[in-house]
Symmetry: C2
Subunit: 299 residues, 2 copies
Amino acid sequence: MTEAAIQQIRRFNRLVTRRVGALDQSYLSRGRPLGEARLLFEIGQGGADVRELRAALDLDSGYLSRLLRALTAQGLIAVEKGRDDARVRRVALTALGRAEVAAYDRLSDALARSFLEPLAPPERERLLAAMAEIERLLSAGAVAVACEPADSADATWCLERYFAELARRFDEGFDPAKGAAAGVEAMNPPHGWFFLARLDGRPVGCGGLARLGAEAGEVKRVWTAPDARGLGVARRLVAAIEAQAREAGLSTLKLDTNRALKEAQSLYRKLGYVETARYNDNPYADHWFEKRLSRPARG
Amino acid sequence: MTEAAIQQIRRFNRLVTRRVGALDQSYLSRGRPLGEARLLFEIGQGGADVRELRAALDLDSGYLSRLLRALTAQGLIAVEKGRDDARVRRVALTALGRAEVAAYDRLSDALARSFLEPLAPPERERLLAAMAEIERLLSAGAVAVACEPADSADATWCLERYFAELARRFDEGFDPAKGAAAGVEAMNPPHGWFFLARLDGRPVGCGGLARLGAEAGEVKRVWTAPDARGLGVARRLVAAIEAQAREAGLSTLKLDTNRALKEAQSLYRKLGYVETARYNDNPYADHWFEKRLSRPARG
DNA sequence: GTCATTCTCTGACTTTAGTCAGGTAACGAG
DNA sequence: CTCGTTACCTGACTAAAGTCAGAGAATGAC
């Protein structure tokens, strides 16, 4: 990581905060403090629970309460008791509020347009492509992998998506109860471990490790959310699983996969897994892989 | 300019302000309000005039005065009367101040590093390349071309650089008094016009138009500052000159150029200028170009 | 030297942003 | 029904950021 690279990034940061930061200034043009404007924006056309807003904007509950009252006084929002849980208050835009949010939207659009307008068409293409690239790479950098219970809410969410995707993609469909049905317990200590990948707190992938015996473990349920593919999420999940396996003293990792999951097979090959003989009776498995782990580095 | 493009840019803006905005938070870790930290950073190793600081950070003079006093009280800066003009006060960092700025520099570096660290080397390359691209294209978009007197301070600055560059690049050297010596008056109304390109207020290029008669004009002194090359500055200057020429009822533009200025020749060709016979006795000219202008669009 | 202008500082504000310690109502487990 | 918890509100703060009018010194044009 050279000095020049650091300087390039710092230059980029300065330029971009300056240019993009102009948005804050233009938001002020509507005569409302930024805090209120941001809150209004966050509420959005669909409305939101006060609780969500507090989490999303990281505001003190007293402070948020006052902001909401200010917006109510301006006739932009209406706050009412939640239906399911009367403690949780629900915020919705009034007609006036919707118009106001639309106005802020136009300001955002205008800024975006001002980036494109002075450019010739081929340069526009390149700007958009470079932005997409940066978005992708910065997101990839912000993905965090952590071990957590395989039956946590987010883990369950991931597994459900995973099973749904298998059901869609396997020629033969997929029934979790029938498949590698080793349940969630197999991926919780002491039998195994489960990892979640998160992007800004939102789960974007998962993967589990289950002991097969004293020496071997199995890589299971490695999945990446569709909108986070291409960020190296699966690669990092497998890396976390391998690190855990070494830590636990396992020397071999095995895994199986279905013929429909081409990208999984190519990932495993790339990561050093080699195809091997059938080692289980999973009815959905068509390919079996194995990798010998090197001894853990000692500190 | 499609809706999708606008949305892409807005997504980029959101992501980048979030990620890069983390810098503000980390600046706070030094226990100093952001306003003071930014000011300290802006003063920089070289020091600055209070006037410059006020312009750069767009601060109220009373507010700035108080911030400076706070930093002085912390022993970070020293403010003294300016040498040339005793009204303009000069701010310099103390040893303690330099150490503090260095600490903020390290925070900036750490953020930059945190973008790179999670990425594999080829992805790092791509991130840096994309950042450079965006920097280039956003800068290009922010270049503003405007007509102004050819003897303004910034115009003079540009012309001096231009002449210095010619002196360096021409085999035969360059003496402004001898060359196409038609002075500055030829490029001021009513004989002509002079255009400056600015990036964030800083001049980054110039170009002039001088009448050669009732029908023809001459493109002169088109120059781009070295650090702004590749942004299409010259192209936009020539476009402004051509628009002005049409407006003034001219039907032909001529120009001469030296054999050393290859990139100028290729630009002019690309913009529709065709090489023609010598039309003046400029001793530094080796090539002469001409372009017929289409009639101005009527509104 | 006069006078308008420029640059900065001071004092007296306001607004925005944010924090903290209760307090109340609703909920959910027992 | 009780009781601990959650979600939100209220009041009473503080700190940061920003504004404005006016004063005083230095400057430059005349």
